[in-house]
């Protein structure tokens, strides 16, 4: 099982704990992640300025994967949706494809049909499968109670994901967390958006959106919130202290990337899972596991 690893912009400089843990989990499960140095931004951040440029940048990345004849594995939800959308539009609309390819020709690239894009969590669920992962679980995480945030672009727009999961009532990540033994705790408004995309436009609104989620998650006693997107994680973890002081509240809610959780269950050395890079300290939850041993 071989994929071209698409890191995007945020993960390699601000979410190395996500990258480290995903690479470790991939190794344990026999997923070969290949680095393509030339992968750039997916195109999402420029879509608001120019949808056409966003398409061109996405198509350039897709062309790189096609050259290597590799499917793409993404870690960021926004990268997943932008690349999948561009792939779909360019595959279905020949006129648009010819137009974009005319642009790409200037840099010696060509969009080709047949590239596949999948988020790492979807690869785990669909290509590896719950049973196989469960066989490899070495450490029981039953002392932990975890809440899950899917993130909008993982499942929306629905038309991009060929019926994978249910955007209005998703279960795949819940199942992936459950196989580690951890208890999944549901909460109010689970599908609510993190607000990350408008953080730079109106910080007050974006932080209020993230606050609602933190309020709802901490209404129950949980050890951490689990995410699979660096944008969402920045909203809930990096901005948590800011939200606490702005609204005079206290959460101290650890925010973990799913591969950090799965990595623990698979028996990966904690150091390799990047917990020291988590901004909200994870000592208490790691201690809980230690005590159980």
């Amino acid at each position: 099982m071989k994929y071209a690893l698409f890191l995007g912009c945020t993960i390699p400089v601000r979410g190395q704990n996500y990258e480290m843990s995903a690479r470790e989990v991939a190794k344990k499960l026999g997923i070969n992640l290949v680095d393509l140095e030339d992968f750039s931004c997916c195109g999402f951040p420029v879509k608001s300025s120019s949808a056409e440029t966003s398409l061109v940048l996405a198509a350039r990345n897709l062309a790189l994967a096609a050259e290597k004849k590799l499917p793409i594995c993404t870690l960021c939800n926004a990268c997943t949706s932008v690349l999948t959308e561009a792939n779909k539009e360019l595959s279905e609309n020949k006129k648009l494809r010819d137009k974009i390819n005319k642009e790409l020709k200037k840099v010696g690239k060509e969009f080709k049909l047949g590239v596949k894009i999948k988020h790492f969590s979807r690869i785990l669920y669909e290509d590896i499968g719950l049973d196989k992962i469960k066989e490899k679980v070495k450490e029981d995480l039953s002392p932990l109670s975890l809440s899950i945030h899917y993130g909008c672009h993982y499942l929306r727009p629905k038309e991009l994901y060929d019926g994978f999961d249910d955007a209005e009532n998703p279960i795949t990540l819940d199942k992936l967390v459950e196989i580690t033994g951890a208890k999944v705790v549901d909460y109010k408004n689970k599908l609510e958006c993190c607000g990350g995309a408008i953080l730079g436009v109106e910080e007050d609104i974006a932080l209020s959106m993230a606050k609602q989620k933190l309020d709802n998650v901490t209404a129950n006693k949980v050890d951490a919130l689990v995410t699979i997107c660096p944008f969402c994680s920045i909203m809930y973890e990096d901005n948590q202290r800011k939200i606490e002081s702005k609204f005079d509240v206290k959460y101290e809610l650890p925010v973990l990337y799913y591969p950090q959780i799965l990595g623990l269950a698979l028996g990966v050395d904690q150091k390799q899972l990047g917990f020291r890079l988590n901004k909200v300290k994870t000592d208490a939850l790691l201690q809980k596991l230690e005590e159980k041993r």
């Binding site: 140095e37 931004c41 420029v46 727009p157």
Partner: protein, 169 residues
């Protein structure tokens, strides 16, 4: 300009009846005229839940009425968080998230761009990424056992220039 009240009464002489067709011609804008104003979009909008100045149904209505200037110069078109909830739930498949993108794209061409998006366009156009990667970042990555990453992408800069050139200065 306020969006309601006596001072914001709509005057037909200020309306541009072609605006909706202009939006429809943009990438993803084609379904704008299908809207029958049910309000499903606004009901499920997480931004609107926090601040009423962002109201997708109202924005679509304004476009259909032809309130071109008011829409393009507004600050609210920049507030879509692209969660795609309205997009997925719309019974008329208006594809609101794409309509918001279309509106922002037209606004940018007319010189109205929110500074945060200008900065994002500058960074991506100049460095091929949303962040300027420093040697420090790569040293840190090496220490963590991660491969170094490229700092600039000449071909991305070349591809970005035609549409983003103005913002990359």
């Amino acid at each position: 300009m306020p969006l309601w009240g006596r001072n914001s009464v709509i005057d037909s002489k200020d309306l541009d009846p072609n605006f909706k067709y202009e939006v429809a011609a943009e990438i993803g804008g084609a379904n704008i005229t299908r809207c029958f104003a049910c309000g499903t979009c606004t009901a499920g909008c997480p931004v609107r839940e926090i601040d009423e100045k962002y109201n997708p149904r109202k924005i679509i209505r304004m476009v259909l009425l032809g309130m071109r200037e008011r829409v393009l110069k507004s600050d609210f078109i920049w507030l879509c968080s692209t969660c795609y909830t309205c997009y997925d739930r719309c019974p008329q498949d208006v594809r609101l998230t794409d309509i918001m993108t279309a509106l922002k794209n037209i606004a940018v061409r007319e010189g109205h761009i929110h500074p945060s998006f200008r900065e994002q366009a500058r960074l991506v156009g100049t460095f091929g990424r949303l962040y300027e990667v420093e040697d420090f970042d790569n040293k840190k990555r090496e220490k963590m056992g991660l491969p170094t990453i490229k700092k600039t992408f000449d071909d991305v800069t070349k591809l970005s220039k035609p549409k983003l050139g103005e913002m990359m200065k």
